[in-house]
Symmetry: C2
Amino acid sequence: MARAELEPTRIMVGVNQSSIMGYPLPSISSRGAFIWTLQKIVRSNISGFKLLFLHVQVPDEDGFNDVDSVYASPADFRDIKDRDKIRGLHLLEYFVGRCHEIGVPCEAWIKQGDPREVICHEVMRVRPDLLVLGSRGLGPFQRVFVGTVSEFCAKHAECPVVTIKRKLEETPEDPVDD
Amino acid sequence: MARAELEPTRIMVGVNQSSIMGYPLPSISSRGAFIWTLQKIVRSNISGFKLLFLHVQVPDEDGFNDVDSVYASPADFRDIKDRDKIRGLHLLEYFVGRCHEIGVPCEAWIKQGDPREVICHEVMRVRPDLLVLGSRGLGPFQRVFVGTVSEFCAKHAECPVVTIKRKLEETPEDPVDD
């Protein structure tokens, strides 16, 4: 084990924004997965781990998120992209800020695309020791309609994956929300 | 996090014997899951974790494992059960012995039944923080015939589950062996 101690255990944590409250707040399940990782795995051994936060932004099909805005030039569309990026950075700030407070080394980055594919692709590229994903803990009926990123990644990601189900007492009125 | 530090993280590890070499040797995937847990999760923080080794013995349908033996009295059948138990204990000795060498607190016990059901039932009873299972990493075609304990438990166990796939270079000639 002596050799393994040289390199920290690299844990990738997939995070997204709250569907109820939007950016910069993390979803309930992302926050749960993060807290679980700190409390149950990292514990006091802050130099033994490195957390890698991946936030995947799902691009709007038409790019029109803000129906009140007026889009008059190509620059407007570039602005949208920049604004999305800034929102994503604000989300990552939550996780990176807490890691800095505790002293756990971390990295964070944003990618765009289908979260299932992007997470699996980033696992191949970055080769973490473990991927931690939050899940809403939806039943089979609800899953048919909303799909689950964690289920897909648990099956296809090329590293060990642990899924942290949202606590029952944290479930919002509509369990599809997060 | 201060409060969480009081209680160690309890990790249940499902272990079984080697299908090629039999008792008391652990299967390749059990040993892999165990070593992964030590190297990647426990690391040097030995007081922060407690490992719980569960070995599920699958009872023979007819109780006749040793075709050369003569069974003449009810006591003979009791002897078979005792011998199975002793074999199981020898397997657990491997894991408990290594934990003692390193100084990681642990417990180990044997149950009989269908490993999928028993593991999920023991998770409900013992409430570990994490369940670690080794897997042979079989393809979908092979899985149809041999079933996979890890896949079932990842879906049904009431705690976070991580599956550690056997390393490619450790795959025996027949990948169904372990």
